[in-house]
Symmetry: C2
Subunit: 661 residues, 2 copies
């Protein structure tokens, strides 16, 4: 058997596993695995550095299937290479509940899946983050410990999504030369031929963003191998445009949209078996082919062994630090540093915008947590995310800790997911809260993938004033609280800001959004308590001795209003409690008893927040009073806006008295 | 005074109005108006076709300030040209509550503002929609009535946002030759020089997407005028890359980030007055300059008059139809056509996925409403948005009614906003509901701008099955219901689908999202009623004679489960009502009495929906039973997923009985 024959048989193994699994599941996408089988075969058997017996090895090359609908390509390859999590039974259970082989690759379902893909373009942008992470870690720990590539297989859909532009311009600007994107250029999308919807010269487009580009026949293994070698030597990120036939091998459906997202059908599969000379039963891989794959699986085991030797030769401190960061554990110095600063804040009680408070807290954090990587989507001065410790990263120097992401919120959030997935660092961002909408698909994926990424989102309400309704979040608190496994924090003062940061850093499996004010806020916590009160999600900030007539619930900047209202009510002989609610999600995680205690038994319950009511009934009941927004904001000085929309202490007092009357 | 002197004085009028207004407001962005004043002067005094006395003239050229933070550029020009809504007093009230001159241009605040901008990249994509709309209308009504350009002034931020890639590739593909984008190439963003964050060759990038490109000195009025003339003659959309100095004229701040987003300060303004030889008081425009601007304002009045003549010469039917569509009124034939079809449905009671039901209803609508423009973001067959009447639009033929948007959800939604703003058509889209996240910033702007755009979003729950959690909406119902002035519809069967479509078409000032199932649903409405019951937002679908023990609230596909549960409960002697809740927002608009009637007084209230609980307390109270999702979905056959997540009739029955026990 010639090398070429062997290659074709190995590639056909992918094709038939994909066809068979999709057929058995009665749904799925056979077209991409069939079309890209040659690419995957060359990549995994000749190029990629990995160890199936140690799938979490830190210095493995990363492979991202950005075109996630082609999941059977990945599952097939992982099975063929001998990854333990992807047995033949798993492949037979493709798309069934509980299987590792979900419809789209799901991070965490099995070792070998580097990221969750499916929403198009996300994988490509994740990979940019992984390639950034590699360079950051190499700058810290040296190339002896960190020296790997990141490969992406992307489809036309990935390249058509806007996020791809943010990702690729960032990669080109940062000269991410160890990022290699293979574009499965099959000219087909669901609605038909690509030229029905697009006329972009992708090669020219990538070159315009300072990429190296290579064109290649995606079915020619020799040319593919050469292209990969050339790409590895480039000083810039590389696009390999690999011309392929979608559904390669299918006699009547190859090259058409019909093979994209539906089973081929028994007859067509039979015809494909004939055409590709594959006279085997479904899911049967002839032993010579499986052996060849398994041998390929061991191909770079020596690289792993060599790496282990180099790692063992490093000094103990470096080893410990490398491992700590990769485990995601925080340094022991963080807790006392934050406690000391919290004590200081209790004494000084500064009036600060919470975005400024965040900067101060970050100064403490960044001093003792070397693995934080800050940044902002071109709002550095407004987001207050840059501290003394965070020198900017530049294309030629990744020893810095701050990324000027440019005006690329979506690309930033997706790249941060990739950095977190890569491991060894805690990325935090900066943008305006209203632009959470721009990066929402990536926020969702961070939550789904259980990644610790932290988003600093400032200018969190009408309190930003004159920029007006396009910049004023109104529905965003509710819409972010709605995302499962995302912590949305809205701290009320400098101490709560510290506590929320502490919680965000400590949540290893949960992304966080910190919503921070533009405007100054008085300190509400007057005394030091060691406990992180924000960890309860909601807590009684100001209690009364007796059963209060009124309980006022508020978050963020409106806690000050609630406290003012309380003082006014008390002056009129009305007893009032104030509950600060920095995080709905953490409150839901408390015991029923604690929740009932916090909600209390006041006759009147009022919530105050510069957003819509949605979600607050949990605290005030459907008959409670809500003082907040019911529509979009407006442009004007912020104090006037608060008055204009009736979100004032006086309004709270009036509502309370009316209900008590 | 030479022509050049005159130009400079006219341009300086913009500069100083911007400086003075920002100074007075103590906030705002002077840099762009100062840098782009020459461009705006040439554009508005020599190129643009408009009539300040008839700002809504249908065939005016459109001007979109995509870099919306430079709003004072637009307000200044509108004042100088004599637009009634933008008096000098308005300029003096820049960024004050109630002023037309909000921090960013807000559509509807004054005639002359074509779209709301500020969130970067949106204006550019709106303009692509406007240019599409122009071609569509020209294909229908002829170039005698429709023949205008769309101009955009975009900044680096607009071009860096991912949405810009979707917009420009679409424009290039569709050969929108009457779209002219001026890039204010000042090399500065908030974080500093652009080369800190980006290395893209924008000219090469646009050319890669089949654009015509022109480089020009943005301060050379002669070169600018020539560039505009060349652009007008192009057979492709044109990018004019205009090199400018941000904050032009400011002696110490020009060309730096300092002038981007803060007042210059009194000293620097005084120095700028000196440098530009402008010895006038704040807001004072010398009469020769104002006269020159006002004369320029009348420059294309004759074009308007000529158009009016051509319009008057058209036949009565054409005139009436043109005006009807521009008013946004629906054809009289729609109501009876829908009524007849609704009657048929009541008789036939078909079991259909609501996405299929939607296609059937669209067949009826598209037959009698010629101004609908359908489309899908590469999911035509899945979204069921294409009907017999909707021939696809191609680059060379805009007589069609269906746009293959490609894999560009964000660009699609933003372009649809532009189409609606242009007037004369009702755009509707297609994508999967989970991808509402990809276009959320544009959905928000549609709501803020009160535009009738209709989004068909199918595969609306775990009911889509095997594609898994990345494709299964969970938090999307809540997050879309959270957007003010957006109607989120989740119809339960074919008749409700018809009614929701009717409501979406009838809502002239509100965008709609129709969330539709992949899976088949039985008809729930068994008898014909003329009234559109969905217009109430929620209504009693199945009542009991006595006061029911249980009320079950549900939306969409879960109404079937609610009805099954009701039947099972009744069989066990438990009386149960079912309330269908197709639209929360419309329910909130009902009278308190109606709301109380619908909610009822059942001992047990249960809500069933394949999303999170958020928002449902409104119906079931905080102590009600919610049967739905609390986290992300999973990959598997859909019936198994419903069972897996416990969203079944049996679960409803069990919960009801437990509460009644």
């Amino acid at each position: 058997m010639t090398d070429l024959d062997k290659h074709h048989r190995m590639a056909n193994a992918i094709r038939f596993l994909a066809m068979d699994a999709v057929e058995k599941a009665k749904s799925g996408h056979p077209g991409l695995p069939m079309g890209a089988a040659d690419i995957a075969t060359v990549l995994f058997t000749q190029v990629l550095k990995f160890d199936p017996t140690a799938p979490h090895w830190a210095d493995r090359d990363r492979f991202v299937l950005s075109a996630g609908h082609g999941s059977m390509l990945l599952y097939s390859v992982l099975y063929l290479l001998g990854y333990e999590d992807f047995s033949l039974d798993q492949l037979k259970n493709f798309r069934q509940i509980g299987a590792r082989t979900a419809g789209h690759p799901e991070f965490g379902h099995g070792a070998g899946i580097e990221t969750t893909t499916g929403p198009l373009g996300q994988g490509l942008a994740n990979a940019v983050g992984m390639a950034i992470a590699e360079k950051l870690q190499a700058a810290r720990f040296g190339e002896a410990l960190v020296d790997h590539y990141t490969y992406v297989l992307a489809g036309d859909g990935c390249l058509m999504e806007g996020i791809s532009q943010e990702a690729l311009t960032l990669a080109g600007h940062l000269k991410l030369n160890k990022l290699i994107v293979i574009w499965d250029d099959n000219g087909i999308s669901i609605d038909g031929k690509i030229d029905v919807t697009d006329s972009t010269d992708q090669i020219a487009r990538f070159e315009a963003s300072q990429w190296n580009t290579i064109r290649v026949d995606g079915h020619d293994p020799v040319a593919l191998a050469a292209a990969f070698r050339k790409a590895q030597e480039s000083e810039r990120p590389t696009l390999i445009a690999a011309k392929t036939v979608i559904g390669f091998g299918s006699p009547t459906k190859a090259g058409t949209a019909k093979v994209h997202g539906s089973p081929l059908g028994a007859d067509e599969i039979a015809a494909t078996r004939k055409a590709l000379n594959w006279p085997h039963e479904p899911f049967e891989i002839p032993s010579d082919v499986l052996d060849a794959w398994r041998i390929a699986g061991l191909r770079s085991a020596h690289a792993h062994k060599d790496w282990e030797k180099r790692f063992a030769a490093a000094d103990a401190e470096t080893r410990a630090e490398f491992e700590r960061r990769n485990r995601g554990d925080l340094p022991a110095a963080l807790k006392p540093a934050l406690a000391a600063y919290k004590q200081k804040l209790a004494e000084e009680r500064p009036t600060l915008a919470t975005r400024q408070a965040s900067e101060h807290v970050l100064n403490v954090i960044n001093e003792v947590v070397p693995e934080t990587i800050g940044g902002s989507a071109d709002l550095t001065g407004s987001n207050n995310t840059k501290t003394a410790q965070t020198k900017p990263v530049t294309p030629d120097d990744f020893s810095g800790r701050y990324i000027h992401w440019g005006i690329r919120e979506h690309g930033m959030a997706a790249a941060m997911n990739g950095m977190a997935l890569h491991g060894g660092m805690i990325p935090y961002s900066g943008t305006f809260l209203v632009f959470a909408d721009y990066c929402r698909p990536s926020l969702r994926l961070a939550a789904l993938m259980e990644q610790r990424v932290i988003h600093v989102m400032t200018h969190d309400s009408i309190g930003l004033g004159e920029d007006g309704p396009t910049h004023q979040p109104v529905e965003h608190y509710a819409s972010l609280r709605a995302i499962p496994n995302l912590h949305f924090f809205r701290p009320a003062d400098v101490t709560e800001t510290l506590e929320c940061w502490q919680l965000a850093l400590g949540a290893k499996k949960t992304p966080s959004v910190l919503a921070l004010t533009r405007q100054g806020l008085a300190a509400q916590r007057k005394t030091y308590v060691e406990e992180n009160l924000c960890a309860r999600g909601a807590y009684v900030l100001a209690d009364t001795d007796e059963t209060a007539d009124v309980t006022i619930f508020a978050s963020g900047s409106e806690v000050e209003i609630a406290m003012d209202a309380r003082a006014k009510l008390e002056a009129e002989g009305v007893s009032a409690r104030v509950v600060s609610v920095p995080c709905f999600e953490l409150f839901e995680a408390q015991s029923a008893d604690y929740q009932a205690d916090v909600i209390g038994t006041s006759k009147v319950r009022i919530a105050v927040e510069t957003g819509i009511r949605m979600g607050w009934d949990r605290f005030i009941g459907t008959d409670g009073v809500f003082i907040g927004m019911s529509g979009f904001g407006a442009s004007g000085p912020y104090k006037e806006l608060y008055a204009h929309f009736g979100i004032t202490a006086d309004a709270v007092v009036a509502a309370a008295k009316k209900r008590l009357a």
